[in-house]
Structure formats: C-alpha cells, structure tokens
Assembly symmetry: C2
Homo-oligomer: 410 residues x 2
C-alpha cells in the first residue's frame, strides 16, 4: 500500500470506528497546523459520513513556544471567557472531539516551568467542567497520532528528517492496525480480546493489586467497590461506542484514592506537555505521594504534584503486556499515547467515572465517597517492564498472579 | 538579498510601520495555515517590539471550500456567539489586527453562490459592530500579502509551482518597497508623496468628479461636503499612525451616496471572496445601481448587490495612476489588495468615516446625513486604465482635469 492509501485507511478508522461519526454529528478536530492535509482528509470522510459541521482548532508548536518565551504570567493566567464558551458550546451540542497528538517531546525544555504551571492550571481550571464531561464520556472523543518532523527527529535521531517522518508514520499505521487488509475487522477482534481481559478482571473482584518489578517498584493498590475494567471501546451518553485512544492496548480501571502504598519507578520517559520527566520514583502512603524524585525534569514533576490535592493521588491503573505490538517495536515514542500502550501504567490525578460500574451516572460526591480521585490533571506514566509481576488479592484473601515477567498469565 | 532577509524586512515593515506595534499591544493575525513560518516571524518581531500577546486566527482555503461543499445553509446562517465575542474582546482591548491575504482566486468557483451569499451576510451581520469600529480606525489594522501556491499558479500559469511562488514573493517584496535598502525610509517618502496628492484634492474642494475611459465608462460622482482624501497612512483613535494596506498607491475618499450617475466598466477582474467577477458594468442613477451585467460571475455580482440597500451604492472613490509600481509590473494579481493599487477604483458598500473631515467622531446618523453610505459590505473594484481621464468640478463650476490618459496631471 502506498502512503496515501494507508493514511486514508487510518483516517477512515479514526472517523468511523474511533469517533463513530453519524449523520448530523459535529466534529471538532484539534491539530497542529502542519497536519492540515491529513485534517482535510479526516474532515472530508466525516462529511461523507453525514457530519453536519467540522470545526478545526489549530495550534502550532513553534508559536506556542515563542508565546511562552515572551508573554507574562498575568497574560497566561487570563483565559478569555469566549474561549471557555467555545468549548462548552461544542460540548453542549455533543460534538465529537478528535485530538491529533504529535509534538517535539522537548518543546518546552527551556521554558520557565513556573510559566508552564500557571498556564496549565489556568486552562485546566477554566475548562474543568468541559473536561469532566469529556472524561465522563458525555460525548465521543478520540486521541490519535500524526507524525510531524519535530517529533520524528527525536524518535529517530539517526535518520534524515524525511526518513524519520516516513518511519514514524509507518509505526503509526502499524500500531493502529491500519496496515492490514481490513482494519475495522482487526479492531473488532482486538476489542473483543481486550474485553475478555477486562471481563476476567471484573469478575475476579480483586480487592487489591500488588505490582513488583526488578527496578524496585513495590506497590499495593486497593481497589474501590464495584471497580470496572474497560478496554479499547467506550460508550458515550447516547449509547454510541467509540475508541478513545488509537492505538490502545490497555485495560484500565481506578485504584481507591486512599489505598495506594509503596514505591513505584518509571520505566519510560514521560513527556509532560512538552517537557521530559525521567528516572523518577513516587512513594505513596495512604494513596498520597509522600516522597518523590526525578533525575530529569524534577521541577516539572514537582509542579504537577503541586497542582492540587488530587494531583498527588492516583486516578488510573492500566495493564499492558510487555509482549504487545507497540512494545515489540522497541521504539521509545516520547509520546504518552504510544508509550502508555507499550507498558503497564498509572495516572496521577482525576479518575474516569467509568472505572466504577455505573459511575457515569454518579455525582462528584458519590464518586468521591467510593474512592474516585478528582483533580485538574490526569497524567499517565509508564511503570511496566519485562520484569513486572502483578498479583491480585481477592476479598477473601486469595492471591492470584495475573502478570508474570511482564505479561498476562490469565 | 536572500529570500529570508527580504521576508524579514517585509515582516519588520508590517509590524513596525504597518501596525506600529508598541509596548503592551495585542496583535491578532489572520492567516492561512500555510503561512505559519511567516506568521511566526511576524509574531516574534511583534513580541520584540513589546507586544503583550499575539493571537493567531488560522484558516485553510481547502478546508473552507470543503466545508462549503458539505454544510447546510442553516449551519452557515448560525454564527456562534462565542465567535462574535472573541472578535469584540480583541477590539475592546484595542488589539492591532493583521490580515494576510493570498488565496486561490477561483477557490469558490464551483460553490453554490447562494451558500456564499448566506454565509457572507451571516458573518457580516454578526460582526457589523466589530467591522464598523475597524473601518472607523478605532484601532490599527493592516492587510498585507503572502504568497501561497494556489494563488501563484493562477497569477503565473506558465511557471512551475515553485517558480510561481518565488516570483509572486518577489513581486510582494517589490510592490511593498521592501527590496530596497531602507524600506521604512522609502515608505516615509511614499507617504509624503501621497499626502501631497490628498492635500491638493482636499484643498480644491471639488463638488463633483467626472470619469471617462475608452471602454465606455462615463460617470459623474458628487462629493459630500467636507470630504477628505487620505492616502497610505491612517491614524487610530489613540492617535497612532498605521498603514492599512501594504502595498498602497491610492488616495481615496467617498462620493455622496445619492450623487452617482452614469455607467462604469471594470478594467480588471474582481476576486470577490474566492469567485471571479469580470467584464461587468454598473449603471447608476441618483447614486444607486439601476442596471448591471457581468459576463463572468453574474450571480456573484447580483448577490453582492442584493446584500442590502447600501450594497447598490458607492462608499469609496480612489485615484491610482496608471504609471505606478504595481501597475507597471503588468501582472494581473486576481487579488484586490494588489489590483486596486494598480488602478483607479470605486467600492460598493460602506464608506470609511475618515473620508469625511472629523468623520470618526460622528454618529451613524450624522454620517448618513452627510451622504456617507452604509452597508454590510465594502467591495473595491477596478475601473482605471491608460485611457482614463478625470475632471474635478469646483463648487463655482470650474472644470479642472486631474487625470489625463491614466495619470495624474496635478
């Protein structure tokens, strides 16, 4: 298949299966300006599927960096109301949201971390209601990758720019299963496989998971009552299925926000909005980070943890086998969408309400009472490697190994 | 000079002289996504001049076309409030507005003209207050060109795409006087020259202009009391100078909205928001179009005239010598910024309040009483050629020739 064909198949997968665009839907695409040709392909497919309108929110990473360099903290703090209104306008219309990820992983390396923190908090605060609805799957959303040269050059530093971009696209197609004859059929099988894993974990009603790796990770995570593992496919408030991440290899749920104890070391660098955090550990007691360190990006990690009370607690636990397509590429993507789907991971910050059975119908207070964490942030970080062993403890104390040497054994 | 140097000089001219960006100013840039590298140069210069923030409103011509093809008239009619709020937010903050022009002149050739009309009216109506403030120079604004391949290929159909783009950039630099040693100095001389022309026209207090060309144009335009000709440089409400068009070769004012009689033929094709209108005439009686025809783009012209009452009347008269830099390139740009500055022109629709002495301080009612036209639109069209003769009639009946064979003789 030629590049154009692959790109078209990938686009079709995103629009038809990822977002499940139907007659009358509005599609909102967030993208770097560099992806304009790809965005137009996506938009045309959406229109052909019956979308009533497509709105594109463009950004440019070079401009974002330039702006951080020059604008004052006061400007960063000030989020105009019309910007918030715009997001809420599309959420109220149940628009379906596509976010194309792919940036220079070191974009904000030289930007004052205080500025990044102020901007992140201002944005997250202004858009809290919007993000809560998104995380509660009130409408369909999808995050998918798009290769840009600034990203590709970091992933493949030894290749020429063009070669690096081509190779990154190839991996995007491979990991999203779009280089097969019938990607939609492949995805149906994949979804079915992940559902079987989720079903096992849900039926087992584990009260606690224990995670150990050779790097020193030794963590116990209590699970909330009625926890729910999901994978690949989500369902929005109108009952339509969608795939929030393309690619996805995980099954995920939430730990109890008060029930995490022990220490965990990262196994892959974390690209936190354009800043790399690496070689770090987090030490938990009663669910809360009580000690931490990072060899790379300490300030960025510190600012993340300082965002709010919930940023120091976990909102997600996700299992990904070491022997899985993305992991087997042996490529470090420096992009969470890809790296988190190559490794068991946790997330600091807000939990998805869907990680509790019927959670999408519960109030914030009800969710909290059940142990669901809330925060302005939700940041996945990778903790799995080929030495990772995981055990589940049932309510009556039975210990069942579910991961051995990095892989599911269930 | 290399391309990069020229582009930088051009950018400096736009930011420093065109918009006169000063400490604390907000800059809003409207641009096609394709111009992103140029936009970042402009933004960086603005920040260096002290801009407190830069906001970019991106558009993409291919997406605009795609959207017109698919969305319904109802969607086009519906302008979300947050969009209007955004424009007003920046106007209220006295942001300075840069618009980069340059598109495929035939972009919307195959789009239903009814859709284009509906969209134009919906947008112009929603943004009427914003546009009125802009046309009243409440803040600084500037329109400047940026070469994109879709445009360049129409201007230079016999060249390769790369050659066409290079050549168009060269012309943009040449016509904007940025390929000289000191463009700012060149512009100061140019502004001074145009001010002398304006001063003559203002001091002469002509009551009426008569325009004749060999193509059949025979038009009389009564001038309002206290008309004011301006050229090149404008002044915003805060007293800062700016250049609304780069390039600019015109001196312009307004005719009395009730005082236009005769017939006028276009001399260059008119690119009306992505549709070409050509080989057309307009016949006026008492200021109003009473007959018209166009060999090319009849429907588009008809829809323009049907926009509102004011769209059938004139809001601008502008004099440009046939022997002038843009005209001498002998290039048809199919872009009004360039073509209107290569030819005497008129505009259908709203008049600039500044075309009346002290007009920026007058109410809409006061302006109307003086003969200033109002409309949702303001569309320049080219009527001058090398055969154009123009006479001014003073209030006591003296007839003075001001244009002979296409050129000023004053």
């Amino acid at each position: 298949m030629k590049f154009k064909e692959k790109l078209y198949k990938y686009s079709e997968l995103i629009i038809k299966k990822g977002l499940n665009i139907k007659e009358g839907d509005i599609l909102v695409i967030r993208s770097q300006v560099k992806n304009i040709d790809f965005v137009n392909i996506l938009a045309e497919i959406a229109f052909k599927e019956g979308a009533s309108d497509v709105k594109i929110n463009f950004r440019d990473e070079n401009f974002s960096k330039l702006r951080y360099e020059y604008v004052s903290e006061d400007v960063l703090k000030d989020i105009p109301q019309h910007f918030v209104d715009e997001q809420n306008y599309y959420m109220d219309k149940k628009a379906k949201f596509l976010s194309l990820t792919g940036e220079d992983p070191n974009l904000f390396k030289d930007i004052d971390s205080e500025k990044l923190k102020i901007s992140m908090i201002a944005n997250s605060t202004a858009l809290k209601s919007f993000s809560d609805k998104m995380m509660n799957n009130e409408t369909s959303w999808c995050v998918a990758g798009a290769a840009v040269s600034s990203w590709a050059k970091v992933v493949f530093p030894d290749l020429s720019e063009d070669e690096a971009v081509d190779k990154l696209w190839d991996l995007i197609f491979y990991t999203s299963r779009t280089d097969s004859e019938d990607p939609v059929k492949e995805w149906e099988k994949h979804i079915s496989d992940l559902k079987k894993r989720s079903a096992f974990l849900n039926e087992s009603k584990f009260a606690l998971f224990e995670i150990k790796s050779d790097n020193g990770t030794d963590l116990k995570l209590k699970m909330p009552k009625n926890y729910f593992f999901a994978g690949a496919e989500d369902t929005n408030a109108a009952g339509e299925t969608f795939i929030a991440n393309i690619p996805t290899e995980e099954v995920f749920s939430m730990p109890h926000k008060l029930g995490v104890d022990g220490i965990v070391y990262n196994t892959k660098p974390l690209n936190l909005n354009g800043s790399i955090v690496d070689d770090f550990f987090l030490k938990f007691a009663d669910g809360k980070v009580v000690d931490f360190h990072a060899e790379v990006g300490y300030e960025v990690l510190k600012n993340l943890l300082d965002t709010d009370e919930g940023a120091k607690r976990l909102g997600e636990i996700a299992f990904v086998p070491y022997d899985s397509p993305i992991s087997n590429t042996n490529v470090m993507f420096y992009n969470t969408l890809y790296d988190e789907n190559a490794s068991c991971h946790l997330a600091l910050g807000k939990a998805y309400p869907s990680s509790i059975k019927g959670g999408d119908k519960l109030s914030a207070e009800e969710l909290e009472a059940l142990g669901a964490n809330d925060s302005l942030v939700h940041v996945d970080f990778m903790i799995g490697d080929k030495s990772t062993n995981i055990w589940g403890y049932t309510e009556d104390g039975e210990k069942i190994q579910i991961f051995k040497d990095g892989n599911f054994i269930i």
